[in-house]
Each structure stands twice: as C-alpha cells, then as structure tokens.
Symmetry: C2
C-alpha cells in the first residue's frame, strides 16, 4: 500500500528541493494538505510565474524579470567606474547589505570549471570583455569565492583586465571579524599573514 497517486506525486515533486529527503518531502506534503492549502496554491502560482518570467539582466547577468535589474537600471550606479565581479546573485545581496560598494556588478552565475566543461563563454566572459572595452570602467574588484575555482576564475579575469588596461583588485581574505584565531583553518591564516598591513 502506498499513498494515493496525487499524494505520491506531491511527495516526489518536493524531493527536487535541495536538502529535502523522502521524510521531509512527506512532512511538507501532509503539512500543506492538512493545514495550508491556500499557501500551497500560492506557492504553486509563484513557482510557475518565477520559472516562466525570471531571466537574466542584460547587463550584469543577475536574475531579474526585466531587461535590467534594479542596480543596472539606476543611473547613479552606472556612472560609477568600479565593477564588482561575483559568482552569484546571492553574493550581490550580501555585498549590498554592507552598503560599502556603490558601483556596478557583473554576475558570473558560476565559476570556471574545466572538469565540468564550464568555460569562459558559460560564465559570460565574452560579455564582460565587451564591458571592459566599451564602458568607462577604472577598476574591477574580483569578489569570487576563495575556493580553487573561484581563485582560478579571478586570475583569468585579472588577465582580461590587464589586456584592457583596467586595474583589477581581489577582495581581502583573512580571519573573519569576531573569529577566534585558534578555530581558523591554516589556509585562511596563511592568507591573513600574507595580506598583513602595517599597524
């Protein structure tokens, strides 16, 4: 005996979500059936709309439903000559929440990964090259993740910047503010020492 076909389909459909196994999927299905059918219908509608209408900003490649995202559509931000390169839309949000950066972004939607067949064209680097050639950019801030792939991607883009005579910088890596030295991994500590500044 199993659940009825529609319930089984619903449990299976929830399993595509990251971090959701069979037990959680079952809990989600019954929770909605028992207690929140209106919320579930709303989730169904919003899922459909988002999947049909969310595309990429034509300038920075982040996700948005218009031609340009909020930042690319803001004339003040576009006059700024700094361009920050990040891997994902969530990185843009994280940086925006600091209110430190007033320039433009370029969102790779990934990183170079030859093993997975992800090359420069897949992360929009042709589009970035055009921006470096034609737009008024002074400095590219490389804010890819401090992983092997993120570093390799940063190096590749730094080379593109040199070709176009644009200054490239990398965000600092080191001990997180509030972090305790004894719990920091060796690689981060190495970065922290190499990046030391006079006090």
């Amino acid at each position: 005996m199993q659940f009825s076909p529609l319930i089984k389909d619903l449990v299976d459909a929830f399993k595509i979500l990251p971090g959701v196994g069979p037990k959680s999927a079952q809990r989600m299905a019954f929770h909605l059936l028992e207690r929140n059918r209106q919320g579930a219908l709303q989730l169904s509608r919003v899922l459909h709309n988002a999947m049909e209408h969310v595309k990429h900003c034509e300038q920075c490649r982040t996700f948005c439903e218009n031609k340009l995202c909020e930042i690319c559509a803001n004339p003040k931000r576009q006059l700024n000559t700094s361009l920050c390169v990040v891997e994902s839309p969530q990185d843009v949000l994280a940086i925006e929440q600091t209110s430190e950066f007033k320039g433009r972004y370029f969102v790779l939607m990934g990183h170079l990964s030859p093993i997975d067949g992800i090359g420069p064209a897949d992360i929009g680097l042709e589009q970035l090259a055009t921006i470096l050639e034609k737009d008024n950019i002074d400095e590219v801030i490389l804010a890819t993740n401090p992983t092997v792939e993120g570093e390799a991607t940063a190096h590749y883009i730094a080379q593109m910047c040199r070709t176009n005579d644009v200054k490239a910088s990398r965000i600092a890596h080191g001990v997180p503010v509030g972090g305790e030295l004894e719990f920091i991994d060796g690689n981060t500590l190495t970065h922290a020492f190499a990046g030391r500044r006079s006090f």
Copy 2:
C-alpha cells in the same frame, strides 16, 4: 536593494514549508532558477492538482482523491472485522509497511484537544459511531500516539466501543525493539513493566 519582486515572492512562498527558514527558502529558489526549472514547473502543477483534488476517503477519512481510498475500496479488507484507529494517514502507511494488519482503518486526522477547541465531531467520531453501530466490527485497535492527547482520545473511543458492545484494545507501549534500556525514558519503562507478559 532586494531581489526582484518575483524572486522575493518565491523565497517568501517557500517559507510556508515546515522546517524552512529564510536561508533555506533562498537556497531553494535559486537552486530551482539555476538548475531545475522543469522540476519546479512540475512541482507547481502537482501542488495545484493535489490541493484542488485531494479530499478525504468517505469511509476512513484518510487523504485520497477518490470517494474511497485503496484500502476501503478493497473488498477483502472490508470483510475483515477489525478496525484500527490512527491519528494520521502517515500512521496508516507505517502500519501497512509491517503487513501485520489486514483489517480496516479509521483515520482521525488529529486527536481530541479541548485546549485547541478540537472536540469529538472534529475528529470524525460521529462517523466512527455510525460504523460501530452499523458495520460488522468485532474489535477496535486503538493505535493513537502515546501522548497525553492520544491516550485521552483512545479512552474516549474505548468508551464508545463499550456502548456498542465492541471489543477495544490498545497497541502495546514499551521498549522499542533494538532499543537500549538505559536510554529509554522513565514513562516508557513504566509502560514496559506494566505491560509485562510471562516468558
């Protein structure tokens, strides 16, 4: 700066799922946008179908999309004179997986809880009374949860059984098979001692 309206709506919609906070909701939204739009559209369709069409079995009250669930529609099961009372459809599945029980079920879809205003009518006990009166039931097996509310509900139904001259039994509570005594709570141990049988 926030995500675009459609993305924000999607993140918010995911927060209705049990165990999903803001960070997981964001991860789900971006995972689907980036990697599985087909799966997301399928989830949208199935959610809509399930919420519109899943109702309660007219005989046992479990969730199903037809008049009768698979078990209630099975003539062999209906000839059996045992009726097992459980709190939820998931409990039916758990019991069915043991292949021990061949009778009918009655699914309360909850338990008595005067504090929350949940009385006998809310858990289908009028319908159960009709079954006890009219159907050929010899024994009711009370398999509600071993919680305060589950026990109170079992006692209430046992009283209904007495009124109708139907035998009522309660599933045994004790040390789980494979469980280690030292890690079992005192209440369960008390049940295990009280329910001891000669060896």
